[in-house]
Symmetry: C2
Subunit: 449 residues, 2 copies
């Protein structure tokens, strides 16, 4: 039954972590989930597939390439609708809301942590399969604007509990550039946005040239760049925009909405939000507030958390369910922290204790010790073999397990536990021993990147 | 931008839960994960896709139909290897072990909780997309037999913490029927197993007929059925097999291994394991011990947790990594408990408290109350609008949120909190109020199925 030698190679864009890195990722997931739940977001999962038609209709950027899915042995495949893997969690969520509207209570707050797939070209920090952690609020007909301020503040609370260092959440409102462009006589809002969005990549001169090439005057191009250049942590961006002397109802509405978000940020988490009028977001379902997030000092990583308001993503023709949401690019964030900042977990297993085995005949005694420790919440494993104690200690050491338990090693036949970092070995009883809190779960450590 | 009316329909075989059901599922996931971690299994995730070649080479039962995956807009698709979605977590794990052998410590214990996809015909309790929760241990060259006893005992510990009622884990060892069949002169072991495996579906008479049709004598068929009929919670199955008067080295080895597993079960968790010589498991990568799990009183649901030992799934030609594992069919288990036994969560949100909003001007005060509650670990949300208090209370009631907090409702301008189940309303301070432990997280309740 032995199979032939097999070639095993990674698949570009489909990252996999080693156990210690996965433990780090789980710490992020647990922290994010805890904060989401503290804010009353209900958990949800949607299926991985959607009809291809629905996927292609939304956020149809060329870079959001969809993976099609079909049964290899499917006689009935012709009768199945064409399916594809979802490329985000917002489009499936909007569909879920439509499908279950009668069974949900609105406004509906949910979080969703799942894999998504995009067939884009793999590059550093960009994957074809990655995990997103999203929150969204949707309501029926209209959506109160205070939710637009809430989304980034929830993420900020999660980020402050995580070892990501300083960060800035940039906020804009699509109505601001939209109204501004219309106000200066540029009717092709989407086209203009698309060009201005390249600022970081190609710089202001080339953006200006492309705008002119697309039909703008030099003065219109100058104004577009001037708008994109405005940013402020306080409300001063409003006056800076007004100083450009452009007026349009959408611009006014956008400025007011953006000011409300920034004001809420100043009140509840000063220094977290920054109005940045350059932010646009690629996905074309956004209609109002948009967010991007940069880690300070690692701006070249791009946004690690993005989102926005969408007024018409979920609609059954009669009823519309406007929503706002934000999405943490978890795989990307953790992958960059691992590779660039050297973060990892302090051990490669949840086990805090290795229970040694004296000989195979007494394995049952070691099993009983382990059961007693587990009953009191101490993760542990029993040594795989009754090897020499030195080898059993090395087994623990290789995995970063801090304690080794020796049944019957005490003078009176009781047990002893050894902290293999310090070498201290003391009498201990599995029904009363207190594992130091700091050792109970793997910690987060930094190794040389 | 309003899209046209869209038809939204479920996709057969791709189940989705409502929020309260997902909360129930999360309770299962959290409990299972906690037990896995208490036993020192390291968390792992593998990519959702594997080369199709690898998937088709393993466990190639017709009913494990593979979903192929390809980029819809893929110019380079011809250069990509053909990919498919994994149909279990064992085949990807074996590949992961081969790929990372140099960076793992053996024996390597891991748990893995992920979606898998199978293109089989959807029916009650059978899905095309579902979540499995697996543990496995792999080692290099050889694998100590005590791990074969450990796997089902870990699952039993998780199940005892979950509202699944009584359950039985059935154990067999493939060497037993294999050696037995060879011992009575039936050389086509796989073919015989396949026919005997239909016992539950077609009954003993038809199985006997098919065996004879395949070349067995009446006596050989009778002996096959006699073997499959043996089960015991203690070690008496050994004598029952011996009484059939068949001998073969593989049969002896299998009986010894199976006896060791059952003995460990009797010592560590009496009444949990039952030797059942009918169990075979479909996937053909199993080579030794195999497991299935039935909920008592719901045997017609089929196995909710299965697995076994595989000696040659992971091999690079020179080194073989034998392993043993067991897999909880989580989606199936939870789905059946929801639909058949009426289990669900006591509320549809993690929030224990709704903080009322007196008027939009004072929303900041309500936000501050919520922040104080969250800082002390109490999940809560702030009312979406400053509606009449009756409406705000109904908002909480519809979601099962037990408490509504009224800022400034006390006589001295302090806050009050109302238990909306009892109607009791008392003075409270968000920095000191203790939410009753039973209300902090959603509980599990049974509604009429």
């Amino acid at each position: 039954m032995t199979p032939p030698a097999e070639k095993v190679t990674p698949i570009s864009g489909f990252p996999e972590f080693l156990p210690a890195e996965r433990l780090l990722e789980l710490h992020f997931l647990d922290t994010i989930r805890e904060v989401f739940e503290l804010h009353g977001f209900a958990p949800l999962e949607t299926r991985a597939v959607e009809p291809v038609e629905r996927l292609l209709g939304k956020g149809g950027d060329a870079d959001k390439e969809v993976y099609g899915v079909s049964r290899l042995a499917g006689e009935e495949s012709s009768r199945d609708a064409a399916l594809g893997l979802h490329f985000d969690l917002t489009v499936p969520f909007a569909r879920y809301v439509l499908e279950n509207a009668g069974r949900l209570s609105f406004p509906f707050r949910r979080y969703q942590v799942q894999k998504v797939w995009r067939g884009e070209r793999p590059q550093e920090g960009r994957f074809r399969e990655f995990t997103q952690a999203d929150i969204d609020v949707v309501d029926v007909g209209g959506l109160a604007p205070h939710f637009e301020a809430e989304m980034p503040l929830v993420v900020a609370e999660a980020f402050r509990r995580l070892p990501v260092g300083e960060f800035r959440i940039q906020v804009n409102n699509r109505l601001v550039p939209e109204g501004f462009y219309l106000g200066i006589g540029l009717e092709d809002v989407a086209g203009t946005l698309r060009i201005v969005d390249k600022l970081d990549k190609i710089g202001p001169d080339k953006v200006a040239a492309q705008l002119v090439e697309a039909g703008a005057t030099d003065e219109q191009a100058r104004l577009c760049l001037a708008l994109a250049d405005i940013r402020s942590e306080d409300l001063s961006f409003v006056d800076a925009v007004r100083a450009l002397g452009v007026s349009h109802p959408s611009l006014e509405a956008g400025l007011e909405a953006l000011a409300a978000v920034v004001r809420a940020g100043l009140e509840r988490a000063p220094g977290t939000l920054v109005a940045d009028l350059r932010i646009a977001r690629g996905l074309d379902y956004y209609t109002g507030t948009v967010y991007e997030t940069q880690l300070v000092g690692s701006e070249d990583w791009g946004s690690v958390c993005s989102g926005g308001r969408y007024d018409s993503l979920a609609s059954d023709g009669r009823t519309t369910y406007p929503g706002v949401g934000i999405s943490i690019g978890l795989t990307r964030l953790v992958h960059l922290l691992v590779t660039k900042r050297g973060l990892t977990a302090s051990r490669s297993t949840p086990a805090a204790v290795l229970v040694a085995v004296v000989d195979e005949e007494s394995r049952t005694r070691s099993d009983a010790v382990a059961a007693a420790l587990r009953a009191r919440g101490v993760p542990c494993e029993v040594a795989p073999s009754a090897a020499k104690f030195g080898k059993q200690i090395r087994y623990a050491d290789r995995r970063g397990i801090p304690y080794v338990w020796f049944p019957g090693a005490g003078e009176s036949g009781g047990d002893q536990v050894k902290d293999i970092r310090s070498g201290d070995q003391v009498d201990a009883d599995a029904t009363t021993w207190e594992c130091p809190t700091a050792d109970l779960r793997p910690g987060i450590v930094t190794r040389e990147p």
